[in-house]
Symmetry: D2
Subunit: 350 residues, 4 copies
């Protein structure tokens, strides 16, 4: 047996959906050992009562949810913060610099204080290395990092699709149009009437349209970095009748002379050696179902000559590659482990 | 009791989804009496075997599916053609000019033979009055008409949302971007592996992206008429895990100075007196569930100042306002009946 | 035009699911006019904000939710109570005897105070005529009634399937086994984590198994009346991933010599002249989808010779024939209107 | 690194649902290497075209579907047969005795030729060791076996729930009543109208009721072995609107004096040391969602004193513990590998 690193892990927000997915992945991770789980409202109850899908895990079955106490989190080598935005900064401030902290919330994603102020409000906590290893040059920034801001689910799907086309100069950076449909788990586990099964089953609905969604500046930040110039986009999110998955459709005006072959080549170059991002064969379009429960993103592209736009579609699991899986992928990089440790690239389908 | 017109009706394609919805609506229509139903593959079998939701209708329960014989269809005052495209023209040619014929297929929707040739191929059958009464000036063209081309489901959702904004000169006619999610019934009832419940449940997927979907020229035709100039658009359809419903997101660049209030006013002016198209209150976004089984379309609009685009979202039931309900609405106009006869504006929700 | 009775109606619990379905049906009812809607938590807000599927109804769009004030309810000719159990009795006590009151809650369904005490607890409010017209002799009890207890959704599905077999002496009254799957709307609209779309989509789960569900004594009461002897049953409810619908499977031991033909004949005799309950053709099995949004129940039966049990399956829409539709059907009887007024027997399918 | 056995594997029926799940599991199995995949109708096409969820697997991406040729299958150390019933026997006959063959079909499950004849018809192929290791004494029969008949999905769920209660003499062996709801993948991938997403979404329906379902004798065989006497049961299957999962409700009459505590103790004794079968804590009921994509079964039991019946509910994933996962578990036993190799006990939820 290989010598395994016994890395102790703490997970906050363990009673939520991202927390539940993190714990599912960590239960199968050979090097990370979950020692502590916290969940404000459920403190004192067995973890499996909140997360019955973990009942088959001897480790998870032995855990009890605690209140979130930074002093006790500090005992861990690795801390995942899966909390509503605005709660991570105070906790992170009390953790040793040597602790690896991966924040699944928004607090440390944006470098621009003005963007934070206008979309989230309140004080800007600062920014950490952005945990999307497949972006140009980003992997190096994550290897050995002690603080990592895991990306949002929508921004991951949009950045993976469009960044290579912008970096290759094949599409215009302004007037990008994004419409992305998400499963309901992206809206969290707090009970709300509009998220009841009775309301969402059989329904596709729009929300936060008109450029007000908080993921907009995060998308623009990633894409601007890839383009080397300011990218602006309009984003319309949709709620779809499924628990998991995002299907993002991103269109951008083609640069003069850009061809479908060039679009395809740019994505192939970016992803052919990536373990988790896959450009689909021509004629095959992404479906969220093919990525369910996996850390994969499926990408396809077309050139709409009729209106002169590139159309990129990306499917991924919002809780896995869009949240928990990506966080584990980043933690692997932080500890120098093989990037795919404990993660699957295969969807549970049908 | 008012004197009722005993209008005899024949429905072709009665074993399909649009046919089944037509028969559900017609069973509750006080003036239309279905005398004949045809369905190629199921000829000779009881209608309710193919359409068990009609078992509670004495009339429908007494009907047997027949082969499609124009000579027998000619006995009806009103014929609905719910057939795959390419099959309507030959049948229509054998029906008397005095028969009211409403075609739910694509054959007679496009005025431009070149558009037909490039998107459908084969011979162009010609064009009939376009059955979308809520379009500017269109209602008059349908009153008393003997031949009507009922619109496609996607084009209905896009035209209802954008036409008033184009007519009011508030948005640019070029570079319109449409992403619309449809329920699976829009793909028809012929068994295909990619439409199996196991494949579509829990899945949102893209298809026919890149400007190749056949509804593209139909959308452009309606919108160009409303704009008074050539409109071009890029259309990406999505398949969503629900049986019915379309949620269309259409964005167009704002004309200089156009405001959110102007966008809203243009839609309010267009629809405040319409029985089936409803501009939602501010802050409320359309959901397909609220229109299920109804002939309604729900509309909402926003101005995305950040990128200078109008964002219109429209929800409707693809089988009702997007197909069978619209066809009945048009038939009511053709016979001079109240336009809402036999139709409901209220969705079955939750 | 026929002379219509202008019957004024008040609906309590109008912001819930049963209330929303009641208002959808009442908007299309030619004799009932909704003048007042109440909803505790949403008092003061427009009805359509809670029930967006009603936005197409001029009448419903003009209504504002009020607090529930018996004095104001008393102004109505007809009052529907769609409240959690335990709340109806106090309100009903303040309404004039001349007012027709239909309670969709459980308060007045059980005749046996002990059954009430053991399953619901607290004081027994008494019992009203049971609003299931298709039960033997029950229709007469509802014609002209001023107080009606509308049945529960599960009990409706079980009684319609088994009562005729018990009345005909074809099955044994003891050891009846019921397993019924319900859509999530049966659990109400109050936000709960276990009812979130993310939890219920893709999931069938059991709950309240082991004979503890409150609908058990109500089922036994109806079936005992039909059998003329004490009927006991074991009931296991399931939650299914759909908003609406109940599929009930009820099995009972066959009396010696009872045949499949006799089972079928008993159901045919009971329902062949009923407008809303339909025995399906042999070889066809009930599906909840075929009854969606309708007041119908679809019934099928088989004799399992292998174990000597009758197997009856019944599909209906828990919010319509299982709640609001049944309530309107009963109100029609109370006012001497045609029983089917304002109701459809056809499901919205697919 | 541990020394790994390089066991070569062939999978027939690789283009179906069970085949796709097998390949997902095998891609993550450290000792089994898939060298050959066959699929009659898709022979010559890339595997990932039929199974897009495998696109992230370098191994699976390199495979092409072949026609099923026993001579080439014989090159493998391990052959999984995932074929419609009736096709396995002829192929198995041509494979060396030394090859480990796991049949996911029904051909070799039944020991009684009469049961085969009456439920399947045609010649009885014989019987192989039954691949449900958690049944009393069954594990030993599978260790080192060269031929294994993997159980059906429904029989697995029923046997796991009731066998321990029968073995402990707590319930009567006659008049067992089973109602089980399955996701649509259990009906296979061949396109059929009644399995279209449009037909199954929003619908629970019954089928094959009245004791005619082919899994009935298989259930009785397992349960009779556990009871040590003849067990008879009535089985009603339901189709539920989800791709995967079975929720089985099994009730049996309690033996005099049998208590809820005894029922619970019998299941705890049977499963406390099992890696894949889990008795849930009291008050928690099984949900198929908690087992999605895992090889787990979740079990709960109650004593319905009211009618004197035990009620056992079991949730599992019909494609994993109900088919492919169980097959891999059995193959691990055949090769003397740790039984859990390559399998997860944790569901993908929500």
């Amino acid at each position: 047996m290989v010598e395994r690193m016994g890395i102790s892990v703490a997970v906050t927000g363990a009673s939520g959906y991202a927390g539940g997915e993190l714990l599912r992945l960590l239960a199968g991770h050979p090097d990370f050992e979950v020692r502590r789980v916290t969940g404000a409202s459920s403190a004192g109850t067995p973890l499996v009562q909140s997360q019955p899908h973990l009942v088959g895990s001897p480790g998870a079955s032995a855990l009890t949810l605690e209140a979130t106490d930074p002093a006790r989190l500090a005992e861990a080598d690795l801390v995942f913060l899966a909390l509503p935005h605005g709660q991570s900064a105070a906790i992170a401030a009390e953790l040793p610099d040597s602790t690896v902290v991966v924040d699944l919330g928004a607090d440390f994603r944006l470098a621009d204080p003005d963007a934070w102020a206008s979309y989230y409000g309140g004080t800007h906590a600062g920014s950490w290395p952005y945990g999307l290893p497949e972006l140009p040059g980003q992997r190096a920034a994550l290897q050995g990092a002690r603080r990592i801001a895991a990306p949002g689910c929508y921004p991951t799907s949009v950045a993976l699709g469009l960044a290579p086309l912008l970096a290759a100069g094949l599409v215009e950076p302004d007037d990008v149009v994004v419409v992305a449909a998400s499963g309901t788990s992206g809206a969290g586990r707090a009970p709300k009437q509009n998220l009841l099964g009775s309301e969402v089953m059989g329904a596709v609905s729009a929300y936060s349209a008109g450029g007000v969604h908080r993921h907009t500046p995060e998308m623009e930040q990633s894409l601007s970095a890839a383009a080397g110039t300011r990218v602006t986009l309009g984003f319309t999110p949709l709620l779809a009748p499924m628990a998991r998955g995002i299907l993002a459709t991103t269109t951008a005006r083609l640069r003069p002379g850009a061809t479908a072959a060039q679009l395809r080549a740019a994505l192939a170059t970016a992803y052919d050696s990536e373990p988790f991002v896959h450009l689909l064969p021509e004629g095959s379009w992404p479906s969220t179902a093919s990525t369910l429960g996996s850390n994969s993103a499926h990408v396809q592209v077309a050139a709409d000559e009729h209106v002169g736009r590139a159309v990129v579609t990306v499917a991924l699991d919002n809780l896995c590659k869009g949240a928990a899986g990506q966080a584990v992928q980043c933690a692997n990089l932080a500890f120098g482990l093989p990037e795919t440790t404990g993660l699957s690239a295969l969807g549970v389908a049908p």
